[in-house]
Symmetry: C2
Subunit: 161 residues, 2 copies
């Protein structure tokens, strides 16, 4: 209601595909992930798998829930991802004997060793994207602001009933 606030007579232009932020954002995301692909392939990882490994290199063993929270993704997304990484030999999944409910995800020697190769990835990507450390920081800040805007606002419910 009151479409005048914020929108108004700009509405027609607002529907142009090219100037949609959501469009630019999804294309940028897919493009950057695509740029990682050939680099990560050498490590035997997909991009989401790479993010999981980053989690584990920071702290292991840890629970699925903890990884799920760190990556801001549903447990149902992480679960099969961990299964594939286990099949690839990079991590282990086992129940903690004190608590039969939680899953302890740990690194195998191969998974821990992979970190050495991964160390070169950020630098390689900055080079391939032609970005300076400052530009990366600036973009990172923008993204964090956007993430805060989505989770900070009263979004989860449709706001007004």
């Amino acid at each position: 209601m009151t479409a005048i606030t914020g929108a108004g007579r700009h509405q027609d232009n607002d529907l142009l595909l090219e100037q949609q932020l959501c469009f630019a954002l999804t294309v940028a995301s897919r493009s950057v992930v695509g740029a990682y692909k050939p680099v990560l392939e050498k490590l035997g990882l997909t991009h989401p798998q790479y993010l999981v490994m980053l989690c584990l290199w920071e702290s292991a063993p840890r629970t699925l829930r903890s990884i799920s929270d760190a990556l801001a993704q549903a447990p149902a997304t992480i679960s099969p991802l961990l299964r594939r990484l286990e099949e690839a030999g990079f991590l282990t999944r086992q129940r903690v004997d004190g608590n039969e409910r939680t899953l302890a995800v740990g690194l195998t020697p191969a998974g821990a060793a992979l970190r050495q190769q991964a160390l070169a990835v950020p630098g390689t990507m900055m080079e391939r994207l032609g970005l300076t450390r400052e530009q990366v920081s600036e973009l990172h800040r923008s993204m964090m602001g956007l993430i805060a805007a989505t989770s900070g606002g009263n979004l989860d419910p449709v706001a007004e009933s």
Copy 2:
């Protein structure tokens, strides 16, 4: 080789999940798309479907290839998307009689009428995200720069053999 250029002794910090641009970018993309979801649900569209409709509202009828190019997505992604939108009654798919190879994607009356409801979407989203028109423009510029960085650089091949 020569990991000193660009990377160097920052490598350890570079692997921290939180400061990965690619991580922030994918989370931001998923978050924003997720924020669109309740709004687009009222129109009966998913976010990728919304982008296809934006294409068609700008110009219809047009070919699958043209939509695929505009959205920077593979024809194989667009094809089933169009099928579902046809099933939903928003567009038509028919062969051009002069050229049995290309597909003419056109709007149905329902698909054309949907534009009126969609006019409110950008304003609604700006409000929900708490972004000003200027902030949206700025973010949009950043994303376009990033997209240019991925397609501009010699990325497609792995560069050196």
